[in-house]
């Protein structure tokens, strides 16, 4: 049998996922750090709040982006079983976003 079975496509998926995760962490940490500095130095300014919320939203969006990238990769490899499984994970994440919005409206 071929010892590389399953590894070559997984490696390209791993690389793409690595880029997505690193970009997400860097962008959100930068927003959070600058927002935090502004909040501590200048009090509750509008810009600080925007940066802090942006940092948190980017942080929350990073795993979602990773799941979307995986769906695209599995679909392009015609691995329909894993396309479906990762799509279910995305739906579950969407369900919690919907639940969050519903709660938000009630509070």
């Amino acid at each position: 049998m071929n010892p590389d079975r399953g590894n070559a496509p997984a490696t390209s998926l791993e690389r793409v996922i690595g880029v997505v995760l690193r970009a997400g962490v860097m962008a959100s940490s930068a927003c959070l750090a600058v927002g935090l500095l502004l909040a501590l130095l200048m009090g509750d300014s509008g810009l600080a709040g925007i940066l802090l919320h942006a940092g948190i939203i980017v942080l929350l969006a990073t795993p979602v982006a990773r799941v979307i990238v995986s769906i695209v990769q599995y679909a392009s490899q015609r691995d329909w079983a894993f396309t479906a499984l990762t799509a279910i994970v995305l739906l579950e994440l969407m369900a919690s976003a919907v639940a969050a919005l519903l709660f938000n409206r009630r509070v």
Binding site: P3, R5, V25, L32, G55, L59, L60, V64, T86, V89
Partner: protein, 277 residues
């Protein structure tokens, strides 16, 4: 919601560094230490503590996994399959956390912390690796270069339903208690499902980002996530886990684990007593 001051932010940053480095040393997220500190010492409501902790879990998962890609240690297929269960558990946990009393959550946390301590003391040394490179790992198995044996090792996944069930429970506990849930998945994957410890830990660390996102989104939408304190904790934990990974190799793992288990038993007892009132 706690009032944010520079002193409070500094305290949370320092605690974040400490729990991040302890977590990295022990292969856990820092949530197991962060939540009790925020809840018991600083007196934050349990949901506020859990929301902050979940955001640090996401940051840790993303940065650790970004650094590990390319080593074949993360089993992406197994991880994505189990994420179906863990995200479902976490969604349900996030919704039900709003309905459960703080005292019940504290008692639950006490029980989970005690179990974590017990597992740490009896950590299985099972390796699960097959050194013969001609063995087919199957769809869900994996293959990676292992430093200990200096060879490419193979493993096959066994008892998949057990792994799925454990992931669902881990997801549920994760969003209820604000921890990653790796402490449930890693021992189960290692002891019953044939996955070597390092691959189980890497795969779990990869999954907890998705797990914690489902829970954290609900807390965020509910307005229970204080952005300034979350930012402080995230930055502290990131710095701490970086330091923990750097210096972790030098520490004696055995004594570290005994020390941590002792600390966790104390935490468990305090949480349980608070919950009992």
């Amino acid at each position: 919601m706690p009032v944010v001051t520079a002193t409070l932010a500094l305290i949370i940053f320092v605690v974040g560094v400490a729990s991040g480095s302890l977590g990295a040393l022990l292969g856990l997220g820092g949530g197991v230490f962060l939540v009790p500190f925020l809840n018991l010492v600083l007196g934050f409501p349990f949901s506020v503590a859990a929301a902050i902790s979940l955001t640090t879990v996401i940051a840790t998962s993303s940065s650790v996994s970004a650094n590990r890609t390319g080593q074949q240690l993360i089993n992406m297929k197994l991880g994505m399959l189990l994420e179906v269960a863990t995200a479902a558990g976490s969604f349900l946990g996030g919704v039900t956390a709003q309905l459960i009393a703080q005292s019940v959550l504290q008692r639950l946390f006490g029980i989970v912390a005690a179990i974590v301590a017990l597992i740490m003391l009896t950590r299985l040394k099972r390796r699960n690796v097959i050194l013969d490179p001609s063995v087919d790992p199957g769809v869900l198995g994996g293959r990676y270069y292992e430093q200990e044996s200096g060879a490419v090792v193979t493993y096959r996944v066994k008892r998949l339903p057990v792994a799925v069930a454990a992931s669902f429970i881990a997801g549920n506990v994760s969003s209820l208690l604000g921890i990653g849930g790796g402490i449930i998945k890693v021992p189960v994957l290692n002891a019953w499902c044939g996955v070597p410890l390092r691959a189980a830990a890497a795969t779990s660390a990869f999954m907890i980002g998705v797990t914690a996102t489902a829970g954290a989104t609900i807390y965020y939408g509910r307005g229970q996530l204080e952005p300034t304190l979350a930012a402080t904790a995230v930055l502290g934990v990131q710095l701490g886990s970086w330091a923990g990974m750097r210096f972790g190799a030098a520490a004696s793992a055995k004594w570290l684990k005994i020390l941590m288990a002792g600390l966790l038993f104390i935490l468990a007892a305090v949480m349980f007593m608070r919950g009992g009132r």
